[in-house]
Symmetry: C2
Subunit: 347 residues, 2 copies
DNA sequence: CTGAAAGCGCTAACAC
DNA sequence: GTGTTAGCGCTTTCAG
């Protein structure tokens, strides 16, 4: 019958006031060891459970962190979320998930999270923070950290997208490919735009002229174009429009690379023999399709995001911090590096 | 300045009582259109946001559903969770996630969810409901639905594991494989045990004697053995223990099959030429490694679970329902069926 | 150290 | 219809 035991019941049963019960509940120092023990006994005997919402109302905070996240589109989020969850589960906080399927939801979710007291902090993923939200976030002083996204006004954790794209493209060029193309994503997405910039810089630093026709993207705008169909479409376009096609590609994301791979296969082309590919993310699949790619430390990003958020919740005056991880080049077979080294070494 | 506007502020500003404000907030019918409009205007002008926890305390329910789930181990959960999330986002409910990394956490999470008022309903995934929890669940009359797990006492959504394993194994046998082995998972896990039973039934229904040595499992008990390492280990054992090995295998899950595939490759064996494999789940990866497998309708299971939970929350007297989905055989290349048909048809 | 009392912000029953 | 009031269960002064 724990169905409704309140601190009043406990207090009566223990012959003390509710204040005292509350004090032992909150480990307040000024309670005699004896009364403390007395109350504690009654607490367990009655199987008392605190009413979370009453506590939250009285305490003015919720012990809750909400994550606003483009929902489970890709493995990237799954990994990041694992980091988040692992970290949070070490604290007493609750994690409430707002999965965004439609950009329109972002607003209402943030507003909801902004309800005074509803959450103590927000983790905001991979999306552009709506402009009109920024002032409200400031006014309400809601702690927030952006992951895979950024804004000068708030803490953020991200990946050096441009740098990663540069490294990937460079790798291809140094492998000897004279023309390398790119399969991009929706340029309104920050990571997508940055990856494009990195690609371009790599191209130009090798004195190759950057020609618009060398980068394509599918029309599917779902998830900013970071999806298989978009990759498939873009590669198909390259394959079928008649003009000469690069023999190597930097692809904005692994999922897209998978789509490109499918398109290539359908056209009887082999990777890396006929076409070389380098992706971005290092999702689980990448390893199995032997995709060379830029690895992002997803799990760590999630874990760090929580740490940072907790820190900011603890001290709102903290300096704003922007952390950037550098992606690492993971060489597998799709880029042709291994093939080449075999040839070179005469194997 | 929405920082602290309460219904009192709104009431004063609108020149009405707080009761009236509350009424328009809750769309109570007995408010004149005029006052309603008046109040609504003030509401938006002051940018009023309700305090969630105060509402929950007063209303005695939380508009919250919690999901207790073995965390993000596999793609299976990601998909199921997508179904859950999509469905929930159509309602006003919050989803709070309790990711279980260590079985010990289950208890504390359930207890937490049982706090009076903390959640309106629980979704419990893929784990055995601890026995001592059952009576408490009943007493507190907390709505709960089990997914990929079951108990006579509560609603459940699951998959016909035994049947699926039977179909998979049978498929292999009918393809002409005379001995087929199995890579199992931890038999303390319900799905694992059921899949083993289905396998066994298939074997015996073809008058093949079932020999213990024909099923192996890795020692990694993480996630009940449904992980890549376990599959890798089990297959390696088959390969290296000297005795003769089956040429076809039913593997308890796709992730394990991936591991088995890796082991096979390392030993220079090709699938399906040398060894045939059928998995279970149809995770995203399966398609790309051309794995024949039993598909579970993961997304639907999640969505249905939410529907059922909502229904039960609406009417606790509802008949307890156990829904079982039948997995479908998805034929790809790993089982050798396509290879064979080519040979047969002379291509 | 501890009891009593005043909120926390909202809902709902009760009068008018 | 609408204002007033009494909770919801807990935390936190404030006396003593």
């Amino acid at each position: 019958m724990n169905i409704k035991v309140t601190i009043y019941d406990v207090a009566r049963e223990a012959g003390v006031g509710i204040g005292t019960v509350s004090r032992v509940l909150n480990n307040h120092p000024s309670v005699t060891p004896e009364t403390r023990k007395l109350v504690k006994d009654v607490l367990v005997r009655l199987n008392y459970q605190p009413h979370t919402y009453a506590q939250r109302l009285a305490k003015r905070h919720s012990e809750t962190i909400s994550a606003i996240i483009p929902f489970f589109s890709t493995y990237f989020f799954v990994e990041v979320l694992r980091g988040v969850q692992d970290k949070i589960s070490q604290t007493g906080y609750d994690l409430v998930l707002y999965g965004v399927n439609d950009p329109q939801q972002v607003d209402s979710y943030i507003i909801r999270a902004l309800d005074r007291g509803r959450v103590d902090g927000i983790l905001f993923f991979s999306m552009q923070l709506p402009d009109h939200i920024v002032p409200r976030l400031r006014e309400t002083a809601t702690p927030i950290v952006l992951v895979d996204s950024s804004s000068p006004d708030f803490d953020s954790i991200s990946v050096a997208n441009a740098e990663g794209a540069y490294v990937a493209t460079n790798h291809l060029i140094e492998l000897g490919y004279e023309s390398v193309g790119m399969i991009g994503a929706n340029p309104t997405s920050n990571p997508a735009a940055q990856r494009l910039a990195g690609f371009r810089r790599a191209i130009e630093s090798h004195n190759i002229t950057f020609d618009e026709s060398i980068v394509r993207r599918g029309t599917s705008s779902r998830l900013d174009g970071f999806n298989r169909e978009a990759g498939y479409q873009a590669m198909t376009e390259f394959l079928e429009d008649g003009s000469e096609m690069p023999k190597a590609f930097f692809v904005s994301s692994d999922v897209q690379a998978i789509g490109a791979l499918d398109a290539l296969n359908e056209h009887g082309l082999e990777v890396p023999k006929d076409v070389a590919l380098v992706g971005f993310d290092d999702i689980e699949l990448a390893r199995h399709v032997r995709l060379t790619t830029m690895r992002q430390p997803m799990y760590q990003m999630g874990a760090l995001a929580v740490e940072r958020l907790l820190a900011r919740m603890g001290d709102p005056a903290l300096e704003i911090l922007h952390t950037t991880f550098s992606p690492t080049l993971i060489i597998r077979e799709s880029c042709g590096a291994i093939l080449r080294s075999r040839i070179t070494s005469g194997k």
